[in-house]
Amino acid sequence: MSQDSHSSSKPFYRYFFSTDHKVIGLLYTITALFFLLCGFMLMLVMRWQLAFPGSPIPFLGHILSPALAPNGVMTPDFYNALGAMHGTIMVFLGIVPLGVGGFGNYVLPLQIGAEDMAFPRLNLASYWFFLLGGLLMLSSFIMPGGAAQSGWTSYPPLAIINPGQTVWLFAMVMLITSSLLGAVNFLVTSFNMRALGMKLSRLPIFVWAQIVTAFLLLLAFPPLEAASVLQLMDRIAHTSFYLPQGLVILGMRHIASGGGQPLLWQHLFWFLAHPEVYVLLLPAMGIVSEILANNTRKPIHGYNVIVGSMIAIGILAFVVWAHHMFISGMSAVLSDFFLVTTMIISVPSVAILTSFVFSLRGGSIRFTTPMLFALAFLPMFGIGGLTGLPLGLTVTDIYLHDTYYIIGHFHYIVVPGSLLALMGGVYYWFPKWFGRKMNDTLGKWHFWTSLICMNGIFFPMFIQGLAGQDRRYYDPMAALHSVPTQPLHVVSSVFAGLLFLAQIPFIYNFFHSIRHGEKTDDNPWQATTLDWACPSPPPHGNFTKPIRVYHGPYEYSPVGHKTDWVPQNEEVLA
């Protein structure tokens, strides 16, 4: 890392080719927020169709090409494309890059007292793979075959015969490459670049969450990369890795040698995708721990329990994948094994959640804006996690599989759970990024409106799921058994529209505060971790003085100390 790459006078180079982890982290954050907004807008279009099947989409209907929406009514293929892209964008271009690429990049080196990431240029490469992969993914909407339309899970043979999938696969390979480079970088940084005295047992929980996440990415993504290459071969070189013999598609015999197995893809996909869902969760949990400890003004309860549970989740995440496949036709005896592992993996989650709750006890809770977001994470993750249990239970999953119940289950974890926590992270670290605070009143409005809307969107889905509403349905009214619950689709959609409006104060607040927010000092939250021991925003190289760590991460309210917090780099006599 050389000085000149930062002092280049052209802003474009200064921002897009900087190897400074802070610049890359912010790039990741803003890019990921942008993709989140894209994914949300795709979903708004879908929500129109779900609420009012077959009626023309307002505004957009006229703009969209007749191939996608004749007379303003979307076609089933376009619906499927929107769904697949919504899932893909939200998971691989939204939440993960925000949690890992954004917060991880910016905060992790600061929290361990490092000057930068271990491989700054690799870091930049990782961002560029992400950006280009993401843009390629988005641009598939305007490419000849259109966007992928086989769900984010891309099950073959459908994914092999459907148009649009090739671009999806290429983009995925780029995104996977980006994540792998990132994961190596994060791990080396956290193991090798810690400041003097920063023992593993003194790492903030945020860092631990990032470490476990990086391991998951490192070991779970390569199988998907291999699987994607095989699917690409099936599409381009007409191999039959996932195609059995003798397929007849719409009355035409499919010319392929056959001999492959459709279920093979599902195993490989879920081997990645289950660990991936914990990748969506762990960074958010890391953020929640930081904010909780800071705003209760006491050490997080059960540091060892939380860290141990995270590691346990990381390991167990590799042996539960087939709970997505209970009724896929996989051996029914195998299901019993995955039933047991799935139930076991819920235990560490309960331990983490309980520790978070017990952290409140005895605290002096400040209801700051970031704290509201972190607190909301707890019950919302609780609902999402608890509803995972009837899915993990083989018997009840027979009925609930592929219904809206599942949509409700994971959105509760990922939207009012992870996404809210990540937004809380934005409010929390914003003063570090820009030396200014985001507006508190707007922040609280953003919080309450978002929380209410998110519940309004996703809670009805449990009822619909129990009534049997199938997911990925272009026309939910087509099924008799989901006609009675159709009004709930309208409720969800109205709240989705309101949720969109609720983001306007956030976006305004974000961009306005960069220049005009209230100025803050280096440590506005009176926090203990090292990220607050450097100037805001930190200069290149981060710390202005050598850093030495003397104790654990959350020394709040020690008895007999003059302040109610002791920074990690402050030596105190016991």
Binding site: Q3, L187, A195, P223, T239, S257
Partner: protein, 197 residues
Amino acid sequence: MSSSTATLVHQPGESTGVTNAKLGIWLFLASEIMLFSTLFTTYIVLRLGAASWPRGWDVLNVPLGMLNTFVLITSSVTMVMAYAKAHDRDLKGFQRYISLTIFLAFVFLIVKGFEWDAHFRHNEFPSTSIFHAVYFTLTGLHGLHVIGGIIVNSGLLYLSRTDFDHPLFVGRVEGAGLYWHFVDIVWIFLFPALYLL
């Protein structure tokens, strides 16, 4: 980097005791192992599920495969020599051995190219059968890794003219060596799996 922060940077890893580059390479190889394990698993699953599976030696050219195995093993030896020379600060020797490694990698690819070409001329393509699909995909991905090795080693050869005395240079050669051995090992699994079983 400014001197005031220099104390923070090159502080040795407290718990690992290895350099960043080496740790990075090991982690990268861990992910590569997952990649190739997946491919091997796929091979096993497809083979177990297949109605019939040809004997490798009936379909593939075993002598050429044998030759290539020998070529790659030799190149691993020359890679070790290159590392030894770099370690002993012998620029000429380093350049000789790394060039030899690159050369052998090219030999491997050319032999592989002949094999593939012969298949194509017999009208055997990845789409011909599931066996061919596995064969072409696995050897193709391995070939891409060989090309990657050629690029890395050529980069080192080029850098050695100016950067041979850089304190991190030996470490880089070591990293490239680890990677190259890995590529070699993958082939040592691939060869019997495809040609001999």
